[in-house]
């Protein structure tokens, strides 16, 4: 039996076992974990082979769908996206097993949760492997359906139910567009098998339409602005390992879909690259701005997923522009940056969500302004979270910087050689990336600083302690991966060599730019290592300097107040971000309830600020309620008077007969 078959079937079996054995939290989790580990083991060899050799692995399952037998193909692109699916799945499951243990829901059948967790994995694997429009759509829908039940794990909370609703609605409406995409594309080859598509037969206008369909349809899943609205709802509602899996891995399927559809459409044109860049800039900048305005940690992280998807799109957009301009350097660096950022983001965003989960477990709250001082209480979690934050801000010597550097360089190289018309999206990329980087840094200084530093702002935060090893080991692994990719960039860079080749047209050879890139990345890794070594050195010097000096600890200066209450006088997340959110208030429209004290002896005053998603507020909610109003007009039909019901029949008949007599039928 082909390994691809096992890859597909093992997690499913694990899920089923978990479902049947679902009363026990531990055993069901172990079943799921076993299934996913099986998938990892069976995937390891083929994925490695494909990524280093660049050859496809194919297998056919005897299966009579409407579309015929089920063809599975593992090409480098699929293999690259498969990597996080199979590697992170078990890690998160391990974490989740421990994380779920403190949910004391009596009578809750935990098997359901784990079944759908594995089903999600199966769905993603099938999405990556299948090569037929229909089976792709089925797999896609399964993949979209599974998280619906995962989000509903806290089904007693209204927010979770609302989130699940928004999530599935978004997924389904996106799915409709994808269905149209495949069917319309299928008309070119009279079959939905990817190999039979003949995009060159389609008119340019239709190709643009198809690209639009695919871009929006997959964009919903990827969380591209403005169709990102399900992310900030679903991620906070789901259990943390699920948010990690969704935000780290599942939304990347949208990116995979976009790349695959561009490949199926026979390579990009300049306009598409431009669209990707524009979408990337808006998602990136607005995503990070929305994130800044949040003070629920998981919501904040969710918006950062939007931002990072934006960065990925920037990279891919630069690559597409490079392809359409016939510039191998631009193409390779852009695409490589985008692809590598897919991998990196799944690592650090996954870790950050796990960290959020640990905090939630220990402090029973994710309201940033109620936390604080956790670095002393949960040192390992804090360390991992800090590393993750630095990585997501794209700071050297961590992995985030590597991918962003590639994108920067692609854009730079492009704008020096391109004409004015072709250069402006690249310059936009540069400015956008820089702004995103700065704001992201601000946002994560806020998050880490307020959560882990200073003194605790609530009693649960003060009582918090470190989590068990089952929960921090996965985070440590991921943190190590962040540093590893940063410090051994050239080797990991090789991962994207063949996935790139899938997307590049034959006319562009990736080899020369690759050599240059490897050289630069080597230096960068060395400098990164240098920073670490030098810091150690300076730390040593400082240690010797301070050895014979007086080192004393004093309370933080209480600003002259008589009884300073350090915890309550601290800067909060909202106040930290205030200056920025004020500046961008035209975009954010933050709500502030409460008032500032006016009179001489002010009474107790509460101040609360919140920033609901502007697009939901000002775009989608009005739209949906408008449709509802319009359809409400039809409801007078059913008024209950049987005579008029009969009149309907007669009238219909009469109209049809007149139409017939008039020759309109």
């Amino acid at each position: 039996m082909s390994p691809l078959f096992w890859l597909l079937i093992l997690p499913f079996i694990g899920g089923l076992a978990a479902l049947l054995d679902g009363r026990s939290k531990t055993r069901s989790a172990l079943w799921a974990l076993a299934g996913l580990t099986g998938a990892l083991l069976s995937a390891a060899k083929p994925v490695f082979m494909v990524l280093v050799s660049g050859n496809n692995i194919a297998a056919a399952l005897p299966w009579s769908m409407v579309a015929g037998p089920l063809e599975l193909v593992l090409d480098p692109l699929s293999a690259f996206f498969l990597l996080p699916v199979v590697v992170l799945g078990p890690l998160f499951a391990l974490y989740g097993g421990a994380y779920m243990r403190h949910y004391r829901q009596e009578g809750h059948w935990h098997g359901i949760h784990w079944f759908f967790y594995n089903l999600l994995a199966v769905g993603m694997i099938l999405v990556l492997l299948t090569r037929n429009g229909l089976s792709f759509m089925v797999a896609w829908e399964v993949m979209s359906l599974a998280p619906f039940f995962l989000v509903l794990f806290h089904d007693r909370e209204k927010t979770a139910r609302h989130a699940a609703w928004i999530y599935l609605v978004a997924g389904h409406l996106g799915g409709i567009l994808l269905l149209l995409f495949f069917l319309l594309l299928g008309t070119s080859g009279h079959s939905l098998d990817f190999v039979t598509f003949q995009p060159q037969l389609l008119s340019p206008g239709l190709r643009h339409l198809l690209f639009a369909l695919a871009f929006i349809g997959f964009g919903v899943k990827a969380g591209i602005l403005p169709v990102h609205v399900w992310l900030p709802e679903a991620h906070p509602a789901a259990p943390s390992h699920v948010s990690a899996y969704m935000s780290g891995v599942m939304i990347k399927m949208g990116i995979y879909g976009i790349l695959r559809s561009i490949q199926l459409l026979g390579g990009p044109v300049f306009a598409w690259g431009m669209v990707l860049v524009l979408a990337g800039v808006s998602s990136g900048v607005l995503g990070v701005l929305f994130a800044l305005a949040q003070h629920d940690l998981k919501r904040l992280l969710a918006y950062h997923s939007v931002e990072n998807i934006g960065i990925i799109l920037l990279g891919l957009g630069v690559g597409m522009i490079g392809i359409s301009l016939g510039r191998p350097v631009v193409a390779v660096f852009g695409l490589a940056g985008g692809l590598l950022h897919v991998l990196n983001h799944s690592i650090f965003k996954g870790m950050l969500f796990l960290g959020a989960g640990s905090i939630q477990q220990q402090c029973t709250s994710l309201e940033i302004d109620e936390l604080g001082g956790l670095k002393k209480r949960m040192p390992i979690t804090a360390l991992c979270f800090l590393i993750g934050s630095a990585a997501i801000c794209g700071l050297p010597p961590l992995n985030g910087f590597i991918s962003e550097f590639l994108i920067y360089f692609g854009a730079f190289q492009g704008q020096t050689v391109a004409s004015a018309a072709a250069a402006w999206p690249l310059l936009l990329t540069l400015a956008g990336l820089a702004l995103i980087g700065g704001l992201a840094a601000a946002c994560f200084v806020k998050a880490c600083g307020i959560i882990f530093l200073g003194s605790p702002r609530s009693t649960p935060a003060a009582k918090a302690g470190e989590t068990g090893p089952a929960m921090y080991l996965p985070m440590l692994v991921l943190a190590a991966a962040c540093c590893g990719i940063g410090l051994a960039a050239p080797y990991f860079f090789d991962l994207v060599r063949y996935p790139l080749a899938v997307l590049l047209p034959a006319s562009l050879s990736p080899s020369p730019p690759f050599v240059g890139a490897v050289g630069r990345l080597t230096i960068i890794s060395l400098v990164g290592g240098g920073v670490i070594i030098l810091s150690l050195g300076t730390a040593l010097i400082r240690f010797f300097l301070l050895r014979q000096r007086t080192v004393c600890r004093q309370p933080t200066w209480g600003c002259g107040y008589l009884y300073p209450d350090a915890a309550r006088m601290q800067y909060t997340a909202s106040s930290f971000a205030r200056s920025i959110t004020l500046f961008f208030d035209t975009i954010l429209h933050s709500r502030v309830e409460g008032a500032v004290p006016g009179e001489f002896f002010p009474a107790r005053i509460g101040l609360h600020s919140s920033t609901p998603d502007p697009l939901t507020r000002f775009c989608f909610t009005p739209l949906f309620s408008g449709i509802a109003k319009f359809l409400g007009l039809l409801r007078w039909m059913q008024h209950g008077r049987v005579q008029l019901y009969i009149l309907y029949i007669v009238a219909t008949l009469f109209l049809l007969l007149t139409a017939l007599a008039g020759g309109w039928l």
Partner: protein, 212 residues
């Protein structure tokens, strides 16, 4: 024989206009009965060569529509103790005049109907007129009973149309149709009885609990 036929047709028109015009339920029931008898006779005269089957069919039709139905309906009228008034939405004079115009219209319409080989346009016209009358009764009357009457008149019209246009409807089907009509009226009678029991009125337009 033609004179007899024209007499029957005249009766048919008369019954329809009476139904549109009259206000007493019992009287309407009897009128419908008369109409049934009239229609039962029409096929016997002139349309087809007389056969045993046709005779049987007409006979049963006459018995059913002239005898059984009125008896059933009058009985339910008595049982239900409904107010004996029709209580229409549309006034009698208005519906009468509507009926008049419909009559003319259907005659005109039937005369230019492309019925190859069917030469009895007048019967078709009156069939249409009867159907429309039935629909008018169905739509414009308040009482459950008068709706049943409307349904009966509609059926009569269709029966008449069938007699006129379709000369090869098998007997089995004809009888099946009759059976169905009979069951239908029977069922409606029971329904009226139940309505009367549950609501102690048979005002159909007050049955508007179920909406939306």
């Amino acid at each position: 024989m033609l004179t007899l036929m024209s007499l029957l047709l005249f009766l048919l028109v008369l019954t329809n206009l009476t139904l549109l015009g009259s206000s007493r339920l019992a009287f309407c029931i009897r009128t419908v009965a008369v109409q049934g008898v009239v229609l039962g006779c029409i096929p016997l005269i002139g349309l087809h060569p007389f056969t045993l089957q046709h005779g049987l069919l007409s006979l049963s039709a006459v018995v059913l529509k002239g005898g059984v139905f009125p008896w059933l309906l009058l009985r339910s009228l008595r049982v239900a103790r409904v107010k004996r008034e029709v209580e229409p939405f549309i006034g009698f004079s208005v519906s009468l005049s509507i009926g008049f115009f419909v009559l003319i219209g259907s005659v005109v319409f039937a005369s230019r109907l492309p019925l190859a080989g069917h030469h009895n346009h007048l019967i078709i016209a009156l069939a249409i007129f009867t159907m429309v009358t039935g629909l008018l009764l169905l739509i414009s009357r308040r009482k459950a009973l008068s709706m049943v009457l409307g349904y009966l008149v509609l059926e009569n019209g269709i029966y008449c149309l069938g007699a006129a246009v379709a000369d090869h409807i098998p007997m089995v089907v004809e009888f099946g149709v009759l059976l169905d009509v009979w069951v239908a009226v029977f069922g409606m009678g029971i329904a009226m009885y139940q309505i009367n029991r549950e609501f102690d009125h048979t005002d159909v337009d007050r049955l508007t609990e179920l909406r939306g």
